[in-house]
């Protein structure tokens, strides 16, 4: 609808919207996170839900203990290789539409523990991450900013057409393969459809 017409109508007290707008508005204002704190970033995540940096005003007050009732998985903390299959399995058990926020340096790329033998160098090796929050730990305001970025992403998702998200597309897969414990490392070490190692070009 024409934006000028819409603003004229709203000045007269007539409010117009689309089904897509209403659907996305309902989804963005009631994103329920999964209780998934792994390490120190979880403390900042908890602080974000408390009184000073209230996350409840965004509709995300209820952190669900069960993945079946959650929309969003905030991976807060270092993901060890022992924990990685459980993270992916929990993500697979969430119903769609689902989103992932990688909070903190450890969830993005392994962080300060990148040389650890048991540290998974970033959860985006196995899961499609929507928002990355740098920081060690990121401040609660940063988590709120990431949440608002996610809300803008949800607002811009289409309902029909080729650009529609994965949860509306019956042909797109819904599960990601769970890594198994190999002899020295996880098998496979990363999911090639989601993550490729960065290409290094060396100066001559």
């Amino acid at each position: 609808m024409d934006e000028g017409l819409r603003s004229e109508l709203s000045k007269q007290g007539v409010f117009t919207t689309t089904i897509e707008g209403l659907y996305n508005w309902g989804r963005r204002n009631s994103v329920w996170p999964l209780q998934f704190g792994l390490a120190c970033c979880a403390i900042e995540m908890i602080a974000t839900t408390m009184a000073r940096y209230d996350l409840a005003r965004f509709g995300a007050e209820v952190f669900r203990p069960s993945p079946r009732q959650a929309d969003l998985m905030i991976v807060a903390g270092t993901v060890t290789k022992k924990m990685a299959p459980q993270v992916v399995r929990l993500y697979n058990q969430m119903p769609e539409p689902k989103y992932v926020i990688a909070m903190g340096a450890c969830a993005i790329s392994g962080g300060p523990f990148k040389q650890g033998y048991n540290v998974l160098k970033g959860i985006d090796r196995y899961l499609p991450v929507d928002v990355h929050i740098p920081g060690c730990p990121p401040r609660p305001e940063a988590l709120i900013h990431a949440f608002m970025t996610l809300q803008r992403t949800i607002d811009s998702q289409r309902l029909t057409g080729p650009g529609r998200p994965r949860h509306l597309d019956a042909a797109a897969g819904s599960e990601f393969p769970v890594p198994q414990f190999g002899e020295h490392d996880l098998v496979p070490p990363s999911n090639p459809e989601i993550w490729q190692p960065p290409q290094l070009t060396r100066a001559k």
Binding site: S66, P67, R68, P85, Q86, V87, R89, L90, N92, Q93, M94, P95, E96, L159, T160, H167, L168, A170, S174, E175, V178
Partner: protein, 123 residues
């Protein structure tokens, strides 16, 4: 025109059934048009904090919890049935009184069992 007093109830029943069925129908229409269901083997697996679960999640009810059922019957269900008995006590016939005493006797047997088993003492 004679106003049928049950007309309101019929209308109420119809509206109540519609209130329950219309959102379900709308959800089904939405699933058909926009958001098809995407079941998956892992998506519907049993939840066990991210681990693989072995066996069925619906386990059989344990019969060792029978004493809780007996104590609940005595202290909750019998109490509810004793309330109308207490209200109508002075107007009862002897036969009704005896029927009520049989009912109380059955539940007193359960109370005596629980008492002798020692579940009513607080350690």
């Amino acid at each position: 025109m004679n106003y049928d007093p049950y007309l309101f109830l019929v209308v109420f029943l119809g509206v109540a059934i519609a209130f329950a069925l219309v959102p379900l129908g709308l959800a089904r229409l939405w699933a058909i048009k926009y958001s098809p269901p995407k079941p998956g083997e892992q998506k519907q697996a049993i939840y066990e904090c991210g681990l693989e679960s072995k066996g069925n999640a619906a386990i059989q009810f344990k019969s060792e919890y029978y004493i809780y059922a007996i104590v609940f019957l005595i202290f909750d269900v019998e109490t509810i049935f004793l309330l109308p008995f207490a209200v109508a006590f002075l107007n009862l016939s002897f036969g009704a009184f005896m029927a009520m005493m049989v009912f109380v006797l059955l539940l007193v047997e359960g109370l005596v069992w629980a008492w002798m088993k020692g579940v009513l003492t607080w350690k």
